[in-house]
């Protein structure tokens, strides 16, 4: 096998692509509505919202910055956008919601890097605060309705036949990919996540990089919140509740490490498409939504386990080689 083919066969993205294709084929064969273009467009537009958040998570995880407050940020940014929209208009609302998200990123980054609080606990705590703030701004759990305007345009309209959320997802994905794969800043993030001490010794500011990482994940969650508000036509304080788990499962499934140093934007895109396809197919098959919660947990554990196996060099190529070796010399351990 050529070196390129070997590398391709060892990439987690390939497995995910196969898994995604198999899911698509399975649901297309089983459900006549699944394969329609209307369903695919809806599926992709829905995936785009969480996909944008997943891009931020991917970039943040590159630097080892775990941020469990993204769902809270999505809700707060959506509610703030809706609140400002009814008072001062759409453009200011979008900017205001983004500013709130940036502020969240700064707070998370400061708490984690300046005070060295465990990021999981720190962002779990801020998540509660953000969710509470979203309810405060919304006034009630009914949310705030958004009239036609820039926010609804972003959420529901199309550019050359493609829904705007998908276009934005694509643009942000390309930016994220370029950042991580082709810029010194991206390499610095990965270096900090992979080995903070080595990064420090080679002159990279570890705390600074992680602060940017928290800014990226909160900023992307803010954009996702605005998109979601636009799509649903309202700012809901309970928006995206529990979806941080879905996003993290998808990102880790794609091959990004939860502990930093390894991040793949392409893997995250495929991961989000996979979990959303699965969700869409299960809904069409009328499987209880609670099954999706269960599957999410299974996929999270399975994905982390697979990534771990791969780090140990135990991938399908290794397995194939091992089986081939066994076949070639079956008598090695003869008595």
């Amino acid at each position: 096998m050529s070196r390129f083919a070997l590398r391709a066969a060892r990439s987690p993205e390939l497995y995910l692509l196969v898994l995604l294709a198999a899911t698509l084929v399975w649901f297309s064969a089983n459900n006549p509505f699944f394969g329609t273009s209307a369903n695919f467009t809806g599926l992709a537009a829905g995936a785009a919202v969480l996909g944008v958040a997943a891009m931020g998570v991917t970039v943040a995880l590159a630097a080892g910055a775990i941020d469990f407050s993204i769902a809270g940020t999505i809700a707060l940014s959506g509610v703030v956008a809706a609140w400002l929209d009814t008072r001062v208009g759409g453009v200011v609302a979008i900017l205001g919601a983004l500013a709130v998200a940036v502020l969240v990123g700064i707070v998370n980054g400061t708490v984690v890097t300046r005070f060295g609080i465990n990021p999981f606990i720190a962002t779990l705590a801020t998540a509660g605060t953000l969710r509470g703030l979203a309810f405060l701004v919304a006034g009630s759990s009914a949310g705030i309705v958004i009239e036609d305007g820039p926010i609804v345009t972003i959420g529901q309209h199309e550019i050359v036949g493609i829904p705007v959320p998908i276009v934005m997802f694509a643009v942000i994905a390309v930016l994220g990919w370029a950042l991580l794969a082709h810029t010194p800043a991206g390499r610095a993030l990965l270096a900090v996540g992979g080995n903070p001490e080595a990064a420090r010794l080679s002159g990279i500011g570890v705390a600074g990089a992680q602060r940017w990482a928290y800014l990226a994940s909160a900023g992307a969650a803010g954009v996702a919140g605005i998109l979601l508000a636009g799509r649903t036509g309202s700012g809901l304080p309970q928006a995206a509740a529990g979806q941080e788990l879905l996003v993290y499962s998808a990102v880790i499934l794609g091959g990004t490490s939860l502990w930093g140093g390894r991040a793949t934007v392409i893997g995250s895109v495929l991961g989000i498409l996979f979990v959303e396809t699965l969700r869409n197919g299960l809904v069409l098959e009328r499987v209880s939504p609670y099954w999706q919660t269960i599957l999410q947990g299974v996929f999270l554990v399975a994905a982390v386990w697979l990534v771990r196996q791969q780090q140990l060099g135990r991938d399908p190529v290794w397995l194939a080689q091992r089986i081939a070796r066994r076949r070639r010399s079956p008598q090695v351990e003869a008595p």
Partner: protein
């Protein structure tokens, strides 16, 4: 509850130093400062709110904290052994629902409690086995099982409440023992047992060692993975007890109810000084953490702060407490 703070990491310190050294050590102990901070907090509420300093109110605080407090106690053991268990909220829901179903089937309180506790230990062992066999971090495994157990609770009940009306069962959640609310008595009893286990049994010492330095523990012949699995089983057991108390108190079991206790319980453990990295922590600390969180909730209630604002403030206070704790340790 008085002499414990002198050993902040929970292992017997080498002998030495006289009475003066003991006082110095006590003043330097994080738990002594936490207790002082608690008294300050209580004093503020006592001045600001009329009914704060009454026996009834303190019994109220106890009643309100017992559910997440009981879960936090087992969580402390798991965390000391280096296993952060975030699935306990879902375990609470599952066990509460199963207990309620036994009651509805007419099996009586004893059978209901037995089923719930057995399932709780079982789910804790599932966490432990997955952690040991897959060689994964407990946080990842329990994040996954959090979804799996919690999803199952919804799937099983279809999101509908399960009533649990039985007098004997209700007494677990609403009754009084020796004039003290039964949930509080249960919490104190569990705290005593776990404190003794951690301090005076070989298993307890192994928990500290495994959490502190798993490699060293392995080198001296301790099976780190199995100690962690046992600690996770204890966390599952206390989660089940917390679930039973929760359902007995409410008279009805709902999927998703236990998950709401997640932040409270973890915050109580962490504020109580148990390190997230494992290897150090005390049951007394967690009790103080429980008291702090319960008092904050109670005080804000008495001052008429809305529940939404309480959600907002809770996160801020937890982060603030963690930051303070961090600064304190850096100074030390």
């Amino acid at each position: 509850m008085t002499a414990e703070p002198s050993t902040p990491i929970g292992r017997p310190e080498p002998a030495g130093g006289g009475g003066l050294a003991l006082i110095g050590r006590l003043a330097a102990a994080p738990l002594a400062r936490l207790a002082a901070a608690y008294l300050l907090l209580a004093a503020v509420f006592a001045i600001a709110a009329d009914h704060f300093l009454t026996t009834d109110n303190f019994l109220n605080i106890g009643r309100a904290t017992a559910v997440f407090g009981i879960a936090a106690l087992g969580l402390t053991v798991a965390l000391i052994a280096g296993a952060l268990d975030v699935s306990f909220g879902a375990v609470m829901s599952v066990c509460g629902i199963l207990a309620a179903e036994r009651i509805a089937a007419g099996d009586g309180a004893a059978a209901a409690v037995a089923v719930a506790l057995a399932v709780g230990v079982g789910l804790g062992l599932v966490n432990g086995l997955l952690t040991a066999v897959l060689r994964l971090d407990a946080l990842i495994v329990t994040l996954g099982t959090f979804s799996i157990f919690g999803g199952w609770a919804f799937l099983h009940t279809n999101g509908a409440p399960t009533p649990a009306s039985d007098d004997a069962f209700a007494r677990i959640g609403r009754g009084e023992t020796l004039g003290i609310p039964t949930p509080v008595v249960i919490m104190i009893a569990i705290a005593l047992v776990l404190a003794v286990v951690l301090r005076w049994t070989g298993f307890g010492q192994r928990c500290y060692l495994v959490g502190d330095n798993p490699r060293a523990a392995t080198l001296v012949g301790i099976r780190a993975a199995w100690v962690r699995a046992a600690a996770l089983a204890i966390s599952g057991l206390t989660a089940a007890i917390a679930g039973v108390v929760m359902v007995a108190n409410a008279g009805v079991a709902n999927a998703g109810e236990g998950e709401r206790q997640l932040l409270n319980a973890i915050a109580a453990v962490v504020i109580g000084g148990t390190a997230l990295a494992g290897g150090s922590g005390l049951i007394v600390g967690t009790l103080l953490g429980i008291a702090v969180l319960g008092t904050i909730d109670n005080g804000l209630n008495l001052l008429g702060v809305s529940s939404t604002w309480q959600d907002v403030l809770k996160g801020v206070i937890v982060v603030f407490a963690l930051v303070l704790d961090r600064i304190r340790r850096r100074d030390a």
